[in-house]
């Protein structure tokens, strides 16, 4: 990694540092609700935790890519000794790092809470893992779209799809009997249904994560 690439990645983390911190605090606050026990606290806390990760992903991608392009900051960055292909790679890596700081912290905290909290069945663990990995893939979808879509209309559709996708995913997983039937159980069941969904999620994530390297980074005209 050359020094300019490193500095631009550091800059991205620096620019979003307050949002990263605030999102971690908000997500942890949501989990604190869950830890208090009771179905209302669980629902409220889970919603705060989920919304925090989803919203953080959208905001970071929009600020980091779409706003930078719209406000013409990208023109200045591209005046630096960096090729537009490098710019795309830097954005993908830097924004993934930003997201991962929040995502890893809040995912680990959620899984830790399920393991530590007697009131939460360990059977939730496979579902929690699948949900967390789905959110990673869903975030990659927004980043990938923001790097390929240049107008506001289609980007709005991307955000709507991104937000709805979480709900659809939860419905879909709940419809898989081999997963949903163990969710209230005392032990986590890592059966083939779980592994199949996980592999599909990881494949989608890898596809969306690497697509900009092959498409946006190779674009002939960048501005």
């Amino acid at each position: 990694m050359n020094p300019l690439t490193r500095k631009l990645i550091e800059r991205e983390l620096h620019m979003h540092r307050w949002m990263i911190g605030a999102s971690i605090l908000a997500g942890l606050a949501g989990l604190a609700f869950v830890a208090r026990g009771g179905s209302i606290n669980f629902n409220v806390g889970f919603l705060i935790w989920l919304t925090t990760i989803v919203a953080f992903g959208v905001v970071v991608a929009m600020f980091g890519i779409a706003s930078e392009r719209k406000e013409r900051v990208m023109n200045w960055v591209l005046s630096l000794p960096v090729a537009h292909g490098d710019y795309v790679r830097i954005k993908v890596v830097a924004l993934l790092l930003c997201f991962c700081v929040v995502w890893i912290t809040l995912s680990a905290a959620a899984i830790g809470l399920i393991l530590a909290q007697p009131g939460l069945p360990d059977g939730l663990l496979p579902f929690a893992v699948l949900l967390c990995v789905f959110m990673l893939g869903n975030y990659s979808f927004v980043v990938c779209s923001a790097l390929h879509v240049h107008s506001e209309g289609p980007m709005t559709i991307v955000i709507v799809v991104h937000n709805i996708a979480i709900t659809l995913f939860m419905f879909a997983v709940a419809a898989i009997g081999d997963i949903s039937s163990h969710m209230q159980g005392p032990v986590a069941v890592w059966n083939p249904a779980f592994w199949t969904v996980l592999v599909v999620e990881l494949a989608v994530f890898l596809l969306l994560f690497t697509l900009p390297f092959f498409v946006a980074a190779r674009r002939r005209d960048f501005i």
Partner: protein, 296 residues
Amino acid sequence: MSTFNPIEFRGVRKAFRFFTLDDLSLDLEPGQIMGFVGPNGAGKSTTIRLALGLLTPDAGEVRLFGHRMPEAQAVAKRDIGYVSDEMRLFQNATVGWHLRFVASIYPGWDEDYARTLLKRFNLRTEQTVKGLSSGEQMKAVLLLALARRPKLLVLDEPTANFDPVARHEVLGEFTDVLRDESRSILFSSHNTVDVERISDRIAFIDRGRLIDSRDKEDFLERWRRIELQVPAGATLPEIPHVVGRESDGQFATLTINQFTKDTLARLGGAVRRVHRMSLEEIFVANVMHHRETRSS
């Protein structure tokens, strides 16, 4: 020292849906200040984006300091300061943060010069960019480009957002930069007054085609507007290189693009007055003549 020209275009073509830049060949030599003049939508920004590797030509070749663009843009841009009126800094960061950021990238960063420019442009390091006016933001962008002491400055309408005083200050800085004779500037603008002030070579572009390119003095020496009084019934001799002709009774005005003493000799006593033309007048006459020639 590099023997390559800072900018070389060879038969470059770039087509968009409603606009085509066609057969552009252009050279910017070391130490030269080229004013790149054209009306809105003429292809100035497209040319500059091609030069910087932000667009890929459909045909032809673009080289910066011998580096083929856009393939070698990261290497070529180390020696280039690019400023455009369509360029903004990070809005939530301070001017000081930008100074440190750019200084850490460019080994040739001139800290003393940066401090001088800060003072001259009345900018403060602790100001956030979003608190600056559009003119001040452009000054900050210019400062960041100038203080890295680039071999080539590419300026795309840099004075568009400036008031007259700011424009005077900034153009003065460009002149200072050019005291180092190895540095070159490509200065795109539709403001011919700015271009005339600092450029030593001028290129006119219109509707995607380069219509003329030569030394500024050459332009100013070759173009004349001649007022004539032609007696009724008399006819003017055939004069070469007349690009414009206006008549009002026995009075006529000719615009000539290759004026010589021979021109006056041919016209004889009909000449009432000979006007030198400003760059703006030359530009307009040149563009109109080429449009008429192309449409016919």
